[in-house]
Amino acid sequence: MKRFLNLFKQDLLLSWRNGLVLVTLITLAIIVALYWTLPLMISGDLELEQGFVLFDDSEGGALRDFLSLRSTDRRFSLAASPGELESRLAEAGGFGVIVSDTPGGGLSYDIVYDSPVSETREAVVLAVLESIHAEATSATFGPEISINELRPGSAPIEINQSLVVIMLALEAMILGFLFVAVVVFQEKQEGSIRAYRVSPGGLLPYVASKVLVFSLMSTAYGLIMVLMTLGFAADYLLLAPVLFLSCLFMTALGLGVAVHFKNISEWFVPGVLILAVNMLSILPYQLPGYSNPAISVLPGYQMIYAMTEILYPSGRSGYLAGTYGYLAVYLAVAALVALPSVKARMMKEVR
């Protein structure tokens, strides 16, 4: 234990002196800033649920009455004049609808936007109006549809909230993978590993120290990121162990891979390739229509959905048990890669 603590302290000190802690903090600051500014930077063009302002100038006021009676949400508001409608749009954005009578006895709809909109949005607005028009002007209401929810509905995940999931599942995990490689190459280049070989240090304390230091750093990075973005809304008791185990796996894998190369130049292509393959996990998450069984076994894929369930629970039962099952398999694989590799490549001279 004394030996392990000595190694742990030294690896931590080297992480600090090598600027790895600084890099982590800078990355963290960028992600947190992105989380808070992303909603401001994204155009409201596709915010289809944005409310609208209605001015019903028709004789019967059919649309006004229909919406007032039928609509259960308050995503529309009534204006008393076209001037009021325009001033509200100027203040709050969105779109307005002016309803008036036609000479033929029908209704005319003028749609007013506060700024130019895409064809997609225009089509959606038209479809909504057509539907409302059909119901508002018919003698009877449409079929009664009752909706029963099997479990409490989860709120939609905003794009900046997805960012937290992706960064946790992919970026926090790869920090350890990268950092452990940096330290391994430093020890190889400086030759300090040769001095370790002729000490009673041994394999297990060496591996445990490296893997734990960088796993803990990655985990701390992830937890602080969640704290600075989602605050206390997240369940940290569920999050911390899953995050730590996933970082442990990736760091151990990174160690097992890095020791096979002489320097970071040799490592670069295979190392980045491994990370790139793992990054494919993002495809099914961002493109829900895309499915690929090969991708579903990637660690990144499992972690993305595990983190989503932990941070934004949908109520699915048994999901975490499955995640721990996958993590157990991943960790076993990482141990099988790392321990023999470190023993063969770091604990003995290699020519």
Binding site: K2, R3, L5, N6, L7, Q10, L13, L14, R17, N18, Q186, E190, G191, S192, I193, R194, A195, Y196, R197, V198, S199, P200, G201, G202, K348, E349, R351
Partner: protein, 284 residues
């Protein structure tokens, strides 16, 4: 005692042995010098002795315990100083020693005391990366002694050191021998070997070509002669007398008795001269 028998090591596996049938013994408490030019096989032998390299063929044992049966606790008993300073550049001199001290299960030296001994105390809190080559060499030497080893493996311990610092290091090495430490000294510096070693082995192209005490080697391979400088007719004259020749012995006696002798030196061969004589190549 370290015993090496019929040691063979082939890096390539193609029959080009880096070490070829090497045998020697190092007695407890002696300084054993392993002399040879670069690429002769010195570091390979040291690598096998310290467990850095796997034993391929032959036997290596410490006090009759085969090297293949040694456990990690064996490393508590040895100290290794490498030719190329291999330190954590981002750690200070003191931190480097403290870190390695923390790896051992045996009582260790006070790192500051070691740094003081080699003149690095005032640089203790400076990162090793900013040390000169000589300072790094001294720090590596300190590190090899941190666990009070019974056996010290020193690879070119005075390389890159100025003469006065080299003398300090040699003094420490002699002290260690006095306290019973066995020292395996690998070098191509014949002067260091001559000054320190009780026994030496010359290794060339993977084979040991001679092995004995430095004095015995010099006597065996040098000329028994004396060079005398003396004053004659107001001038300084010089002459070499070969002691195996009757005429020279008589001439030397005549000069000693009749002339004003200024200097008189026996003319032993240097270790380097002996090595060249045996192998046809120098030690560098």
């Amino acid at each position: 005692m370290i015993r090496v028998e019929n040691l063979i090591h082939d890096y390539t596996g193609e029959g080009t042995n880096a070490v070829d049938d090497v045998s020697f013994e190092v007695q407890t408490g002696e300084i054993f010098g392993f002399l040879g030019p670069s690429g002769a096989g010195k570091s390979t032998v040291q690598g096998i002795l310290t467990g850095l390299l796997r034993l391929q063929r032959g036997q290596v044992s410490y006090d009759d315990l085969p090297v293949t049966e040694l456990r990690s606790s064996f490393f508590n008993r040895i100290g290794v100083s490498f030719e190329h300073p291999n330190l954590y550049q981002k750690l200070t001199g003191l931190e480097n020693l403290q870190y390695y001290a923390g790896l051992y299960d045996v009582p260790t030296e006070d790192p500051m005391m070691l740094l003081e001994r080699v003149g690095l105390a005032e640089h203790a809190h400076i990162r090793a990366g900013s040390f000169s080559k000589g300072m790094k060499q001294r720090l590596v030497f300190c590190r090899s002694m941190i666990n009070k080893p019974e056996i010290l493996f020193l690879d070119e311990p005075t390389s890159g050191l100025d003469p006065s610092t080299a003398e300090v290091i040699k003094g420490i090495i002699r002290e260690r021998r006095e306290t019973g430490t066995t020292i395996f000294l690998t070098t191509h510096n014949m002067l260091t070997a001559d000054q320190l070693c009780d026994n030496i082995a010359f290794i060339n192209e993977g084979k040991i070509v001679a092995m004995d005490s430095p004095k015995a080697l010099k006597l065996a391979y040098g000329e028994r002669s004396v060079e005398v400088e003396y004053r004659e007719d107001g001038k300084i004259a010089s002459r070499v007398f070969f002691l195996d020749k009757d005429a020279d012995r008589a001439g030397l006696k005549e000069i000693i008795e009749g002339k004003d002798i200024l200097t008189m030196h026996s003319r032993e061969a240097s270790l380097e001269q002996i090595f060249i004589q045996m192998t046809g190549r120098g030690l560098v």
